[in-house]
Symmetry: C2
Subunit: 203 residues, 2 copies
Amino acid sequence: MENSPFDLTYQNQGVDGKIIAALERVSQAFRVLLWNESKAYSLSPIQVQVLIFLLHHTEEKRKVSYLANEFNMTKATISDTIKTLEQKTLITKTSETHDTRSYTIHLTPKGQEVAARTSLFAREIQAPIGRMHPADQENLLLSLFDIIRHLNKAGVITLQRMCFTCAYYRPRHGDTEHFCQLLHRNLENMQLRIDCPEHAYAQ
Amino acid sequence: MENSPFDLTYQNQGVDGKIIAALERVSQAFRVLLWNESKAYSLSPIQVQVLIFLLHHTEEKRKVSYLANEFNMTKATISDTIKTLEQKTLITKTSETHDTRSYTIHLTPKGQEVAARTSLFAREIQAPIGRMHPADQENLLLSLFDIIRHLNKAGVITLQRMCFTCAYYRPRHGDTEHFCQLLHRNLENMQLRIDCPEHAYAQ
DNA sequence: CCACATAGTTAGGAATCCTATCTTTGTGGG
DNA sequence: CCCACAAAGATAGGATTCCTAACTATGTGG
């Protein structure tokens, strides 16, 4: 065995190195899938992302500044994207608030249709996840939560709507229990949210 | 409890939906980190990726076509990137093979230095992984392997150097054991490679 | 009411990444 | 031997991404 010419601990492929490499592959897959989907509908990747976001989020989040923050881009970039989407009659703007500087973005019926269809771009990634054992799913999700939580603390990802960054969230018994002050109850691991519509920022 | 105005199974946030969303967040983090690192060294993201790849891979993989396949881009894009890197004296070309159409790319000392430094761009993601329990690391890695294997079969990711797509790989006892015909032995879960230098394609 | 912050737009430019078209070189029948 | 074809890479040109910087217009607070 010692005579093997191959070193099993080759290069930086410790466990964490392997996990990083694997996550990078998955990231690449997302990029490729999103790119393909975009081309299929003659849209840009960011346009598709915006459409999908609009499909799943409420009024107060459907603004230029919010989207810019969400996608780590400048307002200029989003402003441009919105202009294009409007020209394609996929969205409309309404300024129903009393702040006339701002407006809310809405999907047109056509926009909803496109958004619904393109939102399936990740279905290839969903398939193997659906086949996993529930226990493995739970472990995977918790690991990812952990990573994201760290990235959030480190300032890499600025915006979150996950429980751990919410004003209503209270850890109990040293992180093993999760109490939501809005729902007034403990959340199971699988009930923790990554995109909660009621998320409130801690000050 | 039933009176709660909030539906815990809100939107597509079943387990797999949450995992997809989480993976997307991590992907975004990679993008942001890579972008930051690029700007810090006045390079483009793809230039950084190429430099890092060159640092870790051998001769026969350091060619334009291989890189194009690796990063899911056209040869034109890579050709351009290489030209720029050469102008920046970060790489050199040598045509030591007998096929004079092609050449091999080498890092200059300066290129190695930059590559080594930028290769740390993912360290923020590595930190939380390093702190996880070994068992959780193993679960995470196996789950990601599973997803990538599927993406590979589905043709989303064309190129791999992981055991599951290798000509030397033989599953045993229904996927619970992994035999490498090159090493002539079973591999433990944690010995499975995601970027094996000896990977050979199955025909 | 004036200074300042905030929402969004515009202009201009660097960079990404493509398609399509080339040149050159290797390869495999007939 | 040669001719057709494939394969490696380069080049030109263009659509798109995404930025910075400067701008307009509106809200807010001492």
